[in-house]
């Protein structure tokens, strides 16, 4: 599946920490994964598991202070982004790699027109005239199917609906045809019908522009529909990885099993007093996290060793990985 070509993006043992009054929060703690060219990789996990911080770390946009990438490597086409100069990093941002954010209502500047904001992205990375940048804006708005783009380009964000704003955000993100697009919960703030449209749009753009997409989401429905590979995160680290079909058919980690069990499914209606499955307990405190399986306390299958040691990644097949003593025992 991955072939011989090196991955487009490879994150190795990433550690991102935030200093707070309560102590040092290990938001991302030794995370490794890679994204191959043409992949649609979904990074999944519940709120606070470090998904968004991972995205910000990749673009080196973690607010510093209080945050800091404390260790690891982020290889993009073989270059370690953490070692690039600020100037080189700025060339990557918005040029080679761009990002769309969760809330389209707040991620556009309210005092600048849509056209201003998109053409700014173009002119930052390409030496084109104001006029041709503006023409490109109209084309981009057309590309993301915003109706009446000639007029919309002069509009301020507050004149657009949430879905339209997210389309404008996407137009801005793909303006310089990036190789990698990081989409951080791009549909979470939108209502369901608009969600489907935006996901469809991302899919089309990915094919038309040949982009690789890293999708960050907590929504397994979105993952099933949209991604081809999944990385499941829990408390700052990866617990499981695999192809979407495999992972959904046979989740190995108890946490993944719990997540999948918590999805209400049509056709599998629970009559009488049957309830949706839930994962009991809460996410562990990430200030000085323990050196053992972080899910152990919430895990129904936990055995002795889970409470003592940190499980190393186990690879039962190519492209499949799980960090769990129980799963390893069962599969061995």
């Amino acid at each position: 599946m991955s072939g011989v070509a090196p991955p487009l993006l490879e994150v190795r043992a990433l550690e991102t920490r935030f200093s707070t009054e309560a102590g040092l929060v290990h938001a991302v703690d030794g995370l490794s994964f890679s994204v191959n060219k043409g992949d649609s990789l979904a990074l999944v996990g519940e709120s606070g598991c470090g998904k968004s911080v991972t995205a910000l770390s990749i673009l080196r946009l973690v607010p510093d202070p209080p945050g800091r990438v404390a260790g690891g490597e982020i290889l993009f086409e073989g270059y370690d982004l953490l070692k690039l100069s600020r100037r080189d990093m700025r060339r990557i941002r918005g040029g080679e790699m761009s990002m769309i954010f969760q809330d389209p209502m707040t991620s556009l500047n309210p005092v600048l027109t849509i056209g201003d904001q998109i053409s700014e992205a173009i002119r930052t990375h390409e030496s084109v005239s104001r006029r041709s940048a503006w023409r490109r804006c109209v084309e981009l708005l057309e590309l993301v199917r915003i109706p009446d783009p000639h007029r919309r380009v002069h509009d301020y964000p507050h004149r657009l609906s949430g879905g339209m704003r997210q389309r404008a955000m996407i137009a801005m993100a793909v303006a310089c045809a990036p190789k990698l697009l990081i989409a951080d919960e791009p549909t979470t703030a939108l209502d369901v019908t608009i969600q489907a449209q935006v996901l469809g749009l991302l899919d089309r753009l990915k094919r038309e522009l040949g982009m690789t997409v890293l999708l960050i989401t907590h929504d397994l429905g979105v993952v099933a529909e949209w991604a081809n590979r999944v990385v499941v995160m829990y408390a700052g680290n990866k617990v499981e990885e695999g192809r979407v079909d495999e992972l959904f058919a046979q989740p190995l980690h108890p946490y993944t099993q719990g997540l999948l069990g918590a999805i209400p499914q049509a056709g599998r209606v629970h009559y009488t007093n049957a309830r949706l499955h839930e994962i009991s307990g809460t996410v562990p405190n990430l200030i000085d996290p323990p050196a053992r399986c972080r899910f152990a306390e919430r895990c129904a299958k936990a055995i002795d060793i889970c409470h003592r040691e940190y499980p190393a990644p186990f690879r039962p097949a190519a492209g499949r990985e799980v960090s769990c003593f129980v799963a390893e025992r069962d599969l061995a």
Binding site: L56, L59, L61, R90, R91, I92, R93, G94, G95, S98, M99, F101, D103, T106, S107, L108, N109, P110, V111, L112, E120, A121, T124, H125, Y156, H158, M169, M172
Partner: protein, 322 residues
Amino acid sequence: MMSYIARRLLQAVPAVFGIIIINFFVLHLAPGDAADVLAGEAGAANEAYMKQLRETFGLDQPLYVQLYEYVANILQLNLGYSFRHNMAVADLIAERLPATLWLMLSAVFLAVGLGILLGVTSARFVNTIVDRIASVLALLCYSTPVFWIGLMMIVLFSVELGWLPSGGFETIGADFTGLDRVLDVLWHTLMPALALSLFYLAVYARLMRASMLEVYRLDFVTTAHAKGLSPARVAFKHVLRNALLPVVTMAGLHLGGMLGGAVVVEVVFSWPGIGRLAFDAIFQRDFNLVLSILVLSSVLVIVINLAVDLLYAWLDPRIEIR
């Protein structure tokens, strides 16, 4: 837009008349009138002379008659006559107003300009030594009374160092023309404008700092960084304009109050403006003059508020003028 401006100005008319009427009664509640002052100075304070003076100025009429006459005059754009200066009030004001407007404008320019600069710098280097120095500076400016700082500036820069003139609008008798005159006026303006602006400068610096820090936390700033913009471009194109709104609001509110500060500064720096005129007129019970200056200042505040609202709509497209 034009109809909006016209409507706002029309709405201001009743307010101005309200102000005239209230000020008129408040002034007449104060003990003494122009006759007392004039007779006292002439050393001829007998009943007959006082009666004669009051008749001349119409001060013997009942208050409502005086008010009626005053308002009737104003409607004909006649601001009345100054007993004290033996001049039409309109002429007096026309002579003094430009100096005050110039002083206020310079002070606003300094306060807003330097305040924003200081605030932006503080926010950019937040929690560093630069930020702390700026904070202490702002606190000092904020807590020092304007008359004291004015006097101390004169002591230091005029008396001790001899760098700047201690007062006045321009060098009297020098008869500069062209650029020389402009420079001479600027030279004289520097200290009074700075003295008047310090308090406001401090307020804007603090406000700007807080506002910048707040805007820096907003999502669209991350978007701007994610586009690959330089930190300077993010600060000036994306953060500054959003952060300016509270400062513009404050500056608009302050402009009216600044006229009060101008009175003090004009007295300290012998500035030939309307503030000093008002100050003297109050003590001399020169009712027509005081009233006119008060009306003028309220009109000024109304116009400034309108200008601020227009500026606000220009800065923030979400605000629509209807």
